[in-house]
């Protein structure tokens, strides 16, 4: 407990130091010049005032809600496709061998270039952002499930077969948990990428969402607005990450590392 208090203290000290440097640089002239000019860096006070203003008229909640909706949809659709196709590839080596170059090519493509296409196809609403997120989440989940199913321990598999399990029972008791454990180990990355897809999509063209707020502020050189949007986004990310950690600890209780944390 004392160790944790110390850790928290150091973490707070870093925040205070950064804020202090920011404040001094932008508000106190040193040798007649500002070290961090207001126009480019705004000030901590202005950004705080902007955040308070954002939350005072409740419209911010709508933007957060839309970004989170896009993130959730991208995560679930991308994971679903990744699981199904990952299983299919792992159980059908011929399919995997035939499609291998296409998968590699698709994965190597920077997803941002797809954003304009998705906007043409799905419009400026949430679905073009969801599509962008799906292309990011899919590959993470797909590769993990594929690996998980392919690398099931041969001893565990042979043992389950000797216990008399049918194909369906093998799926349920061996392949599925093995694949899920790999998928959950990449949960943080997958959720993070779902959010990246949503925000980048909003940034490139939309009428709502945190990415839209940031883009709008940037368009009029409203640096305080950009920083305020970034801080709101950072807090949202921290909350999501904390939730994912909770879920992960529950689902992966059988794993050595998750259990040793207690």
């Amino acid at each position: 407990m004392r160790k944790r208090a110390r850790l928290l203290l150091i973490q707070l000290a870093i925040a205070v130091a950064v804020l202090l440097i920011w404040y001094v640089g932008s508000s106190v002239p040193i040798g007649g010049a500002y070290f961090l000019p207001k126009f480019f860096f705004s000030t901590p006070g202005d950004v705080l005032a902007r955040i308070i203003k954002m939350f005072s008229n409740a419209s911010i909640w709508r933007h957060i809600y839309i970004t989170l909706t896009e993130t959730a949809l991208a995560f679930f659709i991308g994971s679903g496709l990744g699981i199904v196709i990952g299983f299919w590839f792992a159980r059908r080596p011929t399919v995997a061998a035939v499609l291998d170059p296409y998968v590699k090519a698709a994965n190597a493509l920077p997803r941002v270039v797809l954003a304009p296409i998705f906007m043409l196809w799905f419009g400026l609403g949430i679905w073009s952002k969801v599509a962008l997120g799906v292309t990011l989440v899919f590959f993470i989940v797909f590769f993990n499930v594929y690996q998980g199913v392919k690398e099931v321990s041969p001893a565990v598999l042979a043992n389950a077969r000797m216990l008399g399990m049918s194909d369906r029972q093998l799926m349920r008791h061996v392949y599925w948990p093995a694949a899920l454990s790999w998928m959950f180990s990449s949960l943080h990355t997958a959720v993070g990428f779902a959010l990246v897809g949503a925000v980048v999509g909003e940034y490139l063209g939309s009428a709502a969402g945190i990415g839209y707020l940031i883009q709008e502020a940037e368009g009029v050189f409203d640096v305080a607005g950009v920083f305020a949007g970034m801080i709101v986004l950072a807090v949202v990310v921290l909350v999501i990450d904390w939730l994912v950690t909770l879920i992960e600890n529950r689902l992966l209780a059988w794993r050595p590392r998750a259990a040793e944390r207690f």
Binding site: A155, N159, M162, G164, H173, P177, A178, W254, R255
Partner: protein, 280 residues
């Protein structure tokens, strides 16, 4: 010889396992065939405990996999008089490696073994609980495999195999990774469980002492490739046996000397071919 084992061995009784002219070959990556074992003739009576010893890499495990139906063979594998096709449904297999499902608790690992037989889940859990008590893990039901020691994991695996009540028990150096004392204790546990309803056991090991203290018969295999059976020794030590005590008896040492005389040359040959192979 123990009375139970000797009366269970009349010639007209159907053998639990019968191997006739069995040969197992693998296709290697370079396209050539590797003959692991050849001309194996072996009969195991119902209720008989047979241990197979031989130098490392002699194909002992391959032979076990052949009886389990995990590898294809040339020749005949008969299970209670019926030729084996596909997986051996009447056998339970205790593997050398950890083969428990790591995502299931000890209880779930044992209970799931009854699912293929269609036992209702609640009843399966109840039976699993009593089996885990029998192997001395009554207070470890909710532990995951990684929270158990190597010996405890083997006990769970033993319960998982025995709960299905297989007629034949195949064991591939099951206690190999354990320390010597745990191994002796596991051997005693195995014998006490086995003595309540004797199943035919085929037990592979490289440890001669373990083979003698457990088995009714010890079969010696030659060095691979193309390994074959070169000798069989009946172990006439009285049962019930306690491994720590039985290893001190003069008869134990006499058997040990006799079997080692057969085994020694093969071990040396396996060693020599291993080193010359590396030099070639």
């Amino acid at each position: 010889m123990s009375p139970g084992a000797s009366t269970a061995l009349p010639d007209r009784a159907e053998a639990a396992v019968e191997l006739r002219g069995v040969e197992v070959a693998f296709r290697l990556a370079d396209g050539t065939d590797y003959r692991a074992v050849r001309h194996i003739d072996l009969k195991i009576a119902p209720g008989e405990f047979v241990a197979i010893v031989g130098p490392t890499g002699c194909g002992k495990s391959t032979l076990l996999n052949a009886v389990a139906g995990l590898v294809g063979v040339r020749g005949m594998v008969g299970i209670f008089g019926t030729p084996l096709a596909g997986l051996n449904r009447r056998a339970g297999y205790l593997f050398q490696q950890d083969a428990l499902m790591p995502w299931k608790t000890a209880l779930a690992n044992v209970a799931v073994a009854l699912e293929p037989a269609g036992v209702p889940a609640a009843k399966a859990r109840e039976q699993a609980r009593s089996w885990l008590q029998r192997v001395g893990l009554g207070t470890f039901l909710d532990r995951y495999p990684h929270q158990l020691s190597g010996g405890q994991r083997k006990r769970v695996a033993l319960a998982q195999t025995l709960i299905r009540d297989p007629e034949i028990l195949l064991m591939d150096e099951p206690f190999g990774p354990l320390d010597a004392q745990t191994r002796a204790l596991m051997g005693d546990l195995l014998l006490s469980l086995w003595s309540t309803d004797r199943k035919a056991v085929l037990f592979v090991t490289h440890d001669l002492d373990e083979a003698i203290s457990l088995a009714d018969r010890v079969v010696v295999m030659s060095a691979g490739p193309a390994a074959r059976i070169i000798a069989a020794h009946r172990i006439d030590l009285p049962r019930p046996r306690v491994s720590a005590d039985i290893r001190l008896e003069p008869r134990f040492h006499a058997l040990q000397r006799a079997i080692w005389a057969d085994l020694r040359d093969e071990v040396l040959r396996a060693y020599a071919s291993g080193t010359s192979g590396a030099a070639a």
